[in-house]
């Protein structure tokens, strides 16, 4: 049986647990079907260790539930970045890391010279092949540079350092502090902060979804596919029904919500001949596919359709391409409630706002899926004089919802 360690080999293994503890935080060990109790206990112990200080435990009867409790408005460093700093390694990995960084300072050496020097000067013996693999890996990561002279390859340490950059451009300290909490890939900025021994003391966030960092590895693969105009095959677990499925399509854009915390990949499916969206946090694995020479054509198609997209829904599959209309009339006090009108304009995306009369404004929009705008429409509850939509189901539901809410709060 493997000995327990704080470190892990695969990030994917803990991604769901961290999300579960952070987003929901009400499940106990018994709710984790399909996972062994030992697995749950180990992952819980790791997360408790990484995120100590943010862990909240509570007993429900004799069952213990664990949650991660964070008030993001008072956070200067996303605690979830710690999850990225838990990768396991071998003794040889860490030995070679520090030895190579030490001996290749301002020196160019061959593999045999490096292997010999490790033995002579540091008293450690490594197989040349192990050194070769580490050098190759570090050249890919950029810690080491290689140069070929004749048939011989020479290695040296890369020469850009965080502290030297900060000395040359002092203002980037604040810049890195700020952007290390931004999406996407803020975790990488955090690595840089730690390399430069910087601490963010001044920048905080409002409306920040720290949990997005857990998707950065997946996002990186998708962005690479977009950059290279490749198709991609995504292996996913559905958010709602936990069903496994995979999809092969052309990734075109990341649609990120700053209000609901959900991120989507907008893709074009050649098979279905339509645009579709996939929740980023449902993606478990990305396999890069073939280069699509017609990528730009699909992208243009997406751009042409963007104006009918409220968020990420392209509507009913059978009615793809058809739009639904929303007409809403809002009542405001012209003197004291101009901010409501401002809200309509700045939040209404592609909709058009027109003045009907003093204190009465109309909002009109055509969308692939009018139901997607329904939560936003409801933020105007108390002021909606007219709500009309060509989506009959939505029309009925809106009226029923108001009736139900009136009953709930009726007493």
């Amino acid at each position: 049986m493997a000995v327990y360690s704080e470190l892990i080999k695969s990030f994917e293994k803990i991604r769901d647990y961290v999300r579960e503890f952070y987003i929901f935080g009400f499940r106990t060990r018994e709710n984790y079907n399909g996972k062994s109790k030992r697995t749950y206990d180990n992952e819980k112990r790791r997360i408790e260790s990484w995120l100590s200080g943010y862990i909240h435990t509570e007993l429900i009867g004799h069952k213990k539930k664990v949650s991660v409790k964070i008030d993001s408005s008072n956070i200067y460093e996303n605690p979830l970045y710690k999850c990225y700093k838990s990768k396991s390694y071998t003794d040889n990995d860490i030995r070679l890391h520090f030895l190579l960084m030490d001996m290749l300072n301002d020196k160019m050496m061959t593999i045999s010279e490096i292997t010999d020097k490790i033995s002579e000067e540091y008293g450690m013996v490594f197989d040349t092949q192990i050194v070769r693999l580490k050098l190759k890996e570090y050249a890919e990561e950029g810690l080491i540079q290689s140069k070929k002279k004749g048939n011989t390859i020479y290695f040296t340490k890369s020469d850009i350092y965080a502290d030297e950059l900060l000395e040359r451009y002092p203002a980037i300290k604040d810049m890195i502090s700020f952007f290390s909490e931004e999406i996407p890939f803020g975790a990488v900025g955090n690595f840089l902060m730690h390399k430069a021994d910087c601490v963010n003391r001044f920048f905080t966030r409002k409306h920040a979804y720290m949990v997005h960092t857990l998707d950065d590895e997946v996002l990186h693969s998708i962005i690479e596919a977009m950059e290279n105009k490749n198709e991609a095959t995504l292996s996913c677990i559905g958010i709602k029904h936990r069903n496994a499925y995979s999809i092969t399509a052309v990734p075109l854009k990341i649609h990120s919500s700053v209000q609901t915390g959900r991120n989507y990949i907008i893709m074009y499916s050649s098979e279905q001949k339509r645009l579709l969206s996939v929740r980023l946090d449902s993606v478990k694995k990305v396999v890069k596919g073939i280069y699509r020479k017609d990528y730009d054509k699909y992208y243009q198609y997406y751009e042409n359709n963007l104006r009918y997209l409220w968020g990420t829904s392209f509507g009913n599959v059978r009615r793809f391409g058809q739009t639904e209309h929303i007409h809403m009339e809002i009542i405001i006090n012209e003197v004291s409630e101009q901010f409501i009108l401002n809200r309509l304009i700045r939040e209404g995306r592609n909709g058009i706002v027109t003045k009907i009369s003093d204190g009465r404004y109309a909002y009109d929009v055509d969308l692939f899926d009018a139901a997607e705008a329904s939560p936003w429409v409801k933020t105007f509850i108390g002021r909606i004089a007219v709500f009309e939509t060509s989506n009959k189901e939505l029309q009925d539901r809106f009226e029923e919802d108001i009736q139900m809410m009136h009953e709930i709060y009726g007493e």
Binding site: S73, F203, K206, L309
Partner: protein
């Protein structure tokens, strides 16, 4: 292949690096570094690998203290991933708040890599359309003056237009700069001072600032005001995937949740800043009848008032 999840960015490597930077170090000091920088159980696992029988061999013990076997202090260069991230950041409009165009170009060329991502790959579809103008010279100048004052811990004279259109000028101690991704806007948290007396805390939108003048006045009086937090209790049903949607949307706020298997309802106790109450209220309204505010009564009453008004409008 570049990896984000890699041991080269790991806590254990970083701790080892810190220890190897010391010429000589005692066991107690090593343990202090581990405790200060590690996870809560790191000492249990890392200490034996640094000092135990089966250790990494990076430290040798001489005269009761430990010494690094390295010839120099470890100095780790930037990885390609870090350089590419920095390059991507330089493309963001907000980077102009920190660096001038020429500096950005120079830095980008020094880094010599392609950006990790292009801003055009991302679309923040529900971001408000009236965000701050980060490339406006006045805005940049005010932002930098404020940053300077925060660094120096000195008062700054700030003139700004209030929401009602009044112009106000006072001396403030800037505390922190808050960025809202939803509003695409910076807000400055300050303490107002008058004759070296701290009077009140305020939040000023950067875009409303018309004047900033740094001073060399270091305030002697402190002002600690913790923002007033309130708690709202919400009942959420399983309908329309509401629990999932709600927990995700309000992930930014501190919450404690319970799920009742029998009723299939989730009860959430959620904390928020009092100043954000209206915003929280309309966000809760957006969920419709799948959630219900149960407490506090005054919050529930505000919900009810709006719903009653709407009910009458539809009659």
């Amino acid at each position: 292949m570049m990896r984000i999840f890699s041991e080269i960015y790991s806590t254990y490597y970083k701790i080892t690096e810190k220890i190897l930077k010391k010429k000589t170090i005692t066991k107690a000091e090593i343990l202090d570094i581990i405790r200060e920088n590690g996870f809560s159980e790191t000492a249990l696992f890392l200490e034996p690998k640094l000092l135990g029988e089966d250790n990494y061999g990076l430290l040798i013990k001489k005269n009761g203290v430990y010494q690094s076997i390295l010839k120099k202090e470890p100095h780790i260069p930037l990885t390609i991933l870090e350089k590419r991230w920095l390059c991507a950041v330089l493309q963001d409009r907000k980077s102009s708040l920190f660096l001038d165009k020429a500096q950005k170009e120079e830095l980008c060329s020094l880094l010599g890599v392609t950006p990790l991502y292009q801003n055009r790959f991302l679309h923040f579809y529900d971001r408000f359309s009236d965000g701050d103008d980060y490339e406006n010279e006045q805005y940049i100048s005010h932002f930098r003056n404020i940053l300077q004052s925060i660094h120096d811990n000195t008062l700054i004279k700030i003139g700004f237009n209030t929401r009602k259109g009044n112009r106000v000028t006072h001396y403030f101690l800037p505390l922190k700069i808050e960025y809202s991704s939803k509003n695409d806007r910076f807000r400055l948290h300050v303490v107002r001072y008058h004759k070296n007396k701290a009077l009140e805390t305020r939040i000023i939108n950067l875009s409303r600032i018309t004047l900033t003048e740094c001073t060399d006045i270091i305030p002697t009086a402190n002002y600690d005001e913790i923002p007033e937090k309130r708690e709202v209790i919400i009942k959420i049903t399983e309908e329309r995937n509401a629990v999932n949607r709600f927990m995700m949307e309000f992930a930014e706020l501190e919450r404690i949740s319970e799920y009742d298997e029998e009723t299939k309802e989730c009860i959430v106790r959620m904390k928020y800043d009092l100043k954000d109450e209206t915003e929280i209220l309309i966000r809760l309204l957006s969920f419709g009848p799948v959630i219900e505010v149960t407490e506090p009564i005054d919050f529930r009453k505000q919900m009810k008032e709006r719903i009653d008004r709407q009910f009458l409008l539809m009659k």
